[in-house]
């Protein structure tokens, strides 16, 4: 077993034919400091992006957000869908040299599931749809997890980057009192130095047990090819671009779309674009006296020239999509990519029927995220062409988020962060307003369909359920989905093997420096 892994590692090393030079330093821009090194606990997107270099979970996401094995050799699900058996991969070692055992998995999972830990995803594994009831270790190499009832989401939750991939770390990652010290993981890089406000540096883990094959998402072959990786904190966009051009960073993982023409025109830089899995939308309050009439909401949707709007806001970088399931997902179907054409006459007629008499709609937006603001400005403009008056209410982000969570809005330009399971892509705006006022779509029939997708294990049946929900969404228009943004990574010529992917934060494995 160990021999096979070693062989696989050797094979990849030969295939790539460039052993890491001792002094290689890969510098990557990061727009803000990380919050902690505790995976999935005190976190944000940047924190997740550092954590996934250091720790790994039993399973991990591929590029298309499907789940692959990582520390588990494979996943065996019992026919009733209640028991998951994870045989552990042999030859996996922690950064301190200790071998990975099932006891380590159980120890980490127990800490995650304690309320005091504040794990981001504890509630997800203790919910009506998915309830983890036991983690057992029948032997050193096997972990068994039991659920209360079948769940299509369980493995995705374990693999989600924002859950820290339920990363397994050695118990010496904790202080004697049980508090977090520093991660000792199994990942391709180990934590080097974290200088607050300036950089986080990782060093290559020489004994990393890489999987064979190609890298995909956070799964597959994650062989580290550089000796050190430094995530340099540069908050300002313009400064980051300048740093890239001046050669002070090697990867700009998130170039602004408006900078792309210039960067493309420069010799020696390549742009790596990948659709992200977030969702930019316009939300409508279905309890609003005016907007509770579905004709009014349809009128608004028809008044928008979605392709033109998306082209303008994303500078041509993203494709319009009226589905919450992002085009990069394995569950997106051709039917979901259809964008109904603009129809001003029909929009006027429907608005008239709904009793619209020139009232001013209020669209909430913020300047924190330029896309929200630009969407609101363009929407206002397009509505005007259909005779629908509106005004913008530009709020501070904290206030907008507050209004969102209370459902206190008429219309709102809003963006949802990446949901990596299609059920969650619908769940993020579907639910009972009585208990969850932030939810835009409150329809018991749809809720039932959604619950069904969460329990359904068969991908084909799930896909058809999602198509049915998509059709309902287009009829009832509680939200107008617009597009998923595109991540543009830019690298100079000497950086090879870098790829952007569905999540904004970059991956440093498989990347090398060739001078």
């Amino acid at each position: 077993m160990k021999f096979r892994t070693a062989l696989a590692a050797l094979a990849t090393a030969c295939a790539l034919a460039a052993p890491a030079a001792a002094q290689d330093l890969l510098r990557i821009r990061m727009n803000a400091d990380i919050r902690s090194t505790d995976p999935g606990v005190n976190r944000d997107a940047n924190t997740d992006g550092i954590a996934w270099h250091i720790v790994e979970g039993l399973v991990a996401l591929r590029d298309d957000a499907t789940v692959a094995q990582m520390l588990a050799e494979r996943v065996d699900v019992s026919p009733d869908g209640l028991t998951y058996t994870f045989p552990l991969r042999a030859g996996v070692r922690f950064h301190n040299g200790q071998a990975l055992t099932s006891a380590d998995v159980a120890f980490a999972m127990q800490r995650y599931m304690r309320r005091e830990t504040n794990w981001r995803c504890r509630a997800d594994l203790d919910s009506a749809a998915t309830r983890l009831t036991a983690v057992e270790t029948p032997d050193d190499r096997t972990v068994v997890m039991r659920l209360e009832k079948p769940s299509a989401l369980f493995l995705t939750i374990l693999a989600r980057p924002d859950c820290g991939q339920a990363g397994i770390w050695h118990r010496d990652s904790l202080n004697a009192d049980g508090s977090w010290r520093a991660p000792i993981g199994t990942g391709p890089f180990r934590l080097g130095e974290w200088r607050r406000g300036q950089f986080v540096e990782l060093t290559r883990f020489a004994d990393y047990a890489a999987l064979p094959g190609e890298p995909t998402g956070l799964a597959g072959n994650k062989t580290p090819l550089v000796e050190r990786v430094r995530f340099t904190i540069i908050p300002d966009e313009a400064a980051s671009r300048a740093a890239l051009i001046a050669g002070n960073i090697d990867i700009l993982p998130d170039a602004r779309s408006r900078d792309l023409p210039d960067l493309r025109a420069r010799p020696g830089f390549s742009v790596h674009s990948a659709p992200s899995m977030d969702l930019q939308t316009v939300l409508m309050q279905t309890r609003d006296p005016l907007l509770q009439d579905v004709r009014m909401r349809r009128a608004i949707a028809l008044a928008l020239d979605v392709p033109e709007l998306v082209r303008a806001v994303s500078e041509g970088g993203s494709r319009p999509s009226r589905s919450p399931i992002p085009p990069g997902s394995a569950f997106n179907t051709p039917a979901m990519l259809e964008v109904p054409p603009r129809d001003l006459a029909q929009a006027r007629r429907l608005a008239q029927e709904a009793g619209y008499r020139g009232q001013k709609l209020r669209i909430i937006t913020t300047r924190r995220y330029e896309a929200f603001y630009e969407i609101a400005v363009v929407v206002q403009d397009m509505l005007k062409e259909a005779g629908i008056e509106s005004e913008l209410e530009v709020l501070e982000w904290a206030t907008q988020l507050d209004r969102y969570s209370r459902g206190d809005y008429q219309m709102m330009a809003f963006g949802f962060s990446a949901r990596l399971d299609p059920s969650l892509s619908f769940e993020m705006f579907t639910g009972p307003k009585a208990t969850q006022p932030r939810k835009a779509w409150d329809n018991p029939a749809v809720q039932a369909m959604l619950d069904q997708t969460m329990a359904e294990g068969d991908p084909a049946r799930r896909r058809s359920l999602f198509e049915a929900m998509q059709a309902r969404l287009m009829e009832e228009v509680p939200i107008i989905a617009l597009y998923s943004s595109t991540t543009h990574g830019v690298t100079p010529r000497h950086v090879q093997g870098y790829r952007s992917w569905a999540v904004d934060a970059p991956r440093a494995w498989g990347v090398r420096i060739v001078r």
Binding site: R35, N118, A238, E396, A398, T399, L401, S405
Partner: protein
């Protein structure tokens, strides 16, 4: 003397307490929830409640205030909600950046503007005076953040002499650090020169009108001696008071300059903390600014007799 300082510091305590209390309660009137901001759009009500509890926000406001106050008396400003950093060291760290810029700018402005203002007062009505006053009025009328942008545009983008954004501490690389703070210092100094020329000129004119100057002149004391021995030293003291005021105002306005030049200073820290509803940081920074303001005014009052022989004599 020491007793006087102590008395003054004690007298400032009610002001600081009032500041602390009003900042504490006002901030919590603002819509927005730090837990919600951390969790974002994916927050479940349960997760928000858990996080609020771990932030200590689940207790009643008076209890929170009492806890904060008792910590404060122990010299502990608490921890940032967003980054987890200790607020005290964070403030001192950021204040280093701000202080370097503000002090350098005020020093330069004082060295250039005070002599200019005094000379203008002496030659009141001359073309030189009119030029100085016009320059001062012009500088006073240019918004500092716009001036900063224009300087950036010219020296950063067009000429490429200085980096456009970023910051390096002096400890790391003094030469590079100088490059980063050159433009912010120049911007602040130019604006303050405008203010100080006018102040120095006005107070010198007041002094020049006093009887003893006329006396000295009548006695045949050489004009240079009248100015250097009698007029300028006396005009300097009131100007000094105003420098204290300027320093305080700069601390308030610095957020804008730090935004223009993307500097990790105190002002930016405050604005970012307001946006993130990072209550411990906001409270700490506001209290710190009030403390600096009080101290600067105290220092000015203490220095006053040094420069003003009349007060010293009393």
């Amino acid at each position: 003397m020491a007793l006087y300082v102590l008395k003054r510091l004690l007298a400032a305590i009610p002001t600081l307490l009032l500041v602390a209390a009003s900042v504490f309660f006002l901030m919590r009137l603002i819509p927005g929830d730090p837990a919600l901001l951390v969790l974002g759009d994916a927050a479940t009500p349960e997760a928000i409640a858990d996080l609020r509890a771990s932030m200590g926000l689940d207790r009643t406001l008076p209890v929170q205030f009492a806890l904060w106050l008792s910590q404060l008396l122990g010299g502990d400003l608490g921890f940032s909600i967003t980054s987890g950093e200790a607020v005290g060291p964070l403030i001192l760290d950021r204040f280093g950046v701000t202080a370097a810029i503000v002090l350098a700018a005020v020093a330069i402005a004082v060295l250039l503007a005070v002599p200019a203002g005094m000379l203008a007062a002496w030659k009141q009505g001359s073309w030189g005076d009119i030029a100085a006053v016009s320059l001062a009025t012009l500088l006073l009328s240019i918004p500092s953040f716009w001036l900063g942008l224009i300087l950036l545009l010219v020296f950063g983008l067009k000429l490429g002499w200085v980096p456009v954004v970023g910051y390096v501490t002096f400890a790391e690389n003094p030469w590079a650090a100088l490059h980063y703070i050159l433009l912010p210092i120049a911007t602040l100094a130019l604006v303050e020169i405008g203010v100080l020329i006018r102040m120095a000129r006005a107070s010198t004119i007041e002094v020049l009108r006093l009887d003893y100057i006329a006396h000295a002149r009548a006695k045949g004391v050489p004009e240079s001696r009248v100015l250097l021995r009698h007029a300028f030293p006396n005009a300097f003291a009131p100007t000094l008071t105003l420098v204290g005021l300027v320093l305080g105002n700069l601390l308030g306005g610095i957020a804008v300059i730090e935004t223009v030049f993307t500097l990790p200073g105190l002002g930016r820290l405050l604005v970012d903390a307001i946006f993130a509803r990072d209550y411990p940081v906001i409270q700490g920074v506001m209290l710190f600014i009030a403390l600096v303001y009080v101290s600067v005014n105290l220092a000015v009052d203490l220095l006053y007799p040094v420069f003003d022989p009349r007060v010293a004599a009393e």
